[in-house]
Amino acid sequence: MADNTSIEEKLLRKLVPNDLSQEAKDRLECTVDDLVGASFESARGDATAGSKSSNSLRWAWKVAAAITLLAALAVTRQAILSDSAQLPQLAVSEVTPQTGPDFVVLKSTHQIDAKENDGLIIPNDGGTPHYRFRYRVTDEEQVRDPKTGTIITLRQPRQEVHTIPVTQF
């Protein structure tokens, strides 16, 4: 043990590890600033949405359902118009909502923003060791009413957690 202690002392005394370069240190500090900025900006956004968020979600899904229905109506109307010579304007205007059925889908995306690897997780309660990956995903749908120019964006961020149990060592 005493011999090992002297080797340890020599390692500490005689070998000096290199340090990060100044450029790397500056880059890491910039990264911290960016991460903090992004994190606290999004937190502020969530805070202002706050108690209304659940109502907003309900409204958003109602709008999405309305858009789907209107889009189906638009497709049907288009099929009828292409087959028929003329339709009474009055009848069409009675069916058509004020905003118009011709919503244009601008964007429909499913985006994986980030993947984080939490590494090997060994639960303290004796559970199965597993690797854990977390995906930050954003689903976004954007439609436009060509008559009024209104753009409706539905964005749903979420986190997906995937665990892979370790079966062999």
Binding site: K10, L11, P17, N117
Partner: protein, 182 residues
């Protein structure tokens, strides 16, 4: 009012993380550097680990992470990094490394005698698992329990590997002394 308090909270958080980096950055660099062939890759790995650690700590009040967790994440970043590089690229890096004589993970300018040089080569020549334990124990500031947590091994295994590594280093130094004396 809410904006101001958010701004102050963000500033406080950034300061905490930057202080944490000032305290532990060099330790993380030593660990990362002994897992790859050059300074640039080691610094990239730390950058990558920092982003991952931030994401992980967002669910824990954005406080800086514990050191064992930081090493654990850095370890997996290093493993990913090694896989991505691929065998051909590793050969190319090895060639670059041989020409870049100043880029060692231990500071050669601080060496005062031949024994230091022998020790440096001996540590670099240890098997990956032994070198990892030595790095975390001697320069990483971890206990055996923390090393065990980082490397997903038992504390006894960590201690055994450390003991075995020191014995190997001691033998190499004794061999050098023997050669000099006669």
């Amino acid at each position: 009012m809410a904006k101001k308090s958010d701004h102050e909270a963000g500033r406080h958080c950034a300061t905490a993380w930057k202080d944490w980096l000032k305290e532990h950055g060099s330790r993380l660099y030593v660990y990362a550097r002994q897992r790859c062939n050059n300074r640039e890759d080691a610094e990239d790995m730390i950058q990558d680990a920092l982003v991952r650690l931030w994401g992980y700590q967002e669910e824990r009040g954005n406080v800086p992470p514990d050191l064992p967790l930081a090493y654990s994440v850095l370890r997996f970043v290093a493993m990913d990094h090694g896989k991505k590089k691929g065998r051909k690229k590793r050969k190319e890096e090895a060639i670059i490394y041989l020409h870049d004589r100043d880029d060692y993970w231990l500071d050669t300018s601080a060496e005062e005698d031949d024994e230091a040089e022998v020790l440096r080569h001996a540590v670099a020549g240890l098997g990956e698992k032994l070198r990892e334990v030595v790095t975390l124990k001697v320069w990483g500031g971890l206990t055996f329990v923390q090393i065990a947590e980082t490397m997903a091994i038992s504390p006894n295994t960590a201690a055994s590997r450390y003991r075995y590594a020191l014995e190997q280093l001691k033998r190499k130094l004794e061999t050098l002394k023997g050669e000099r004396l006669g």
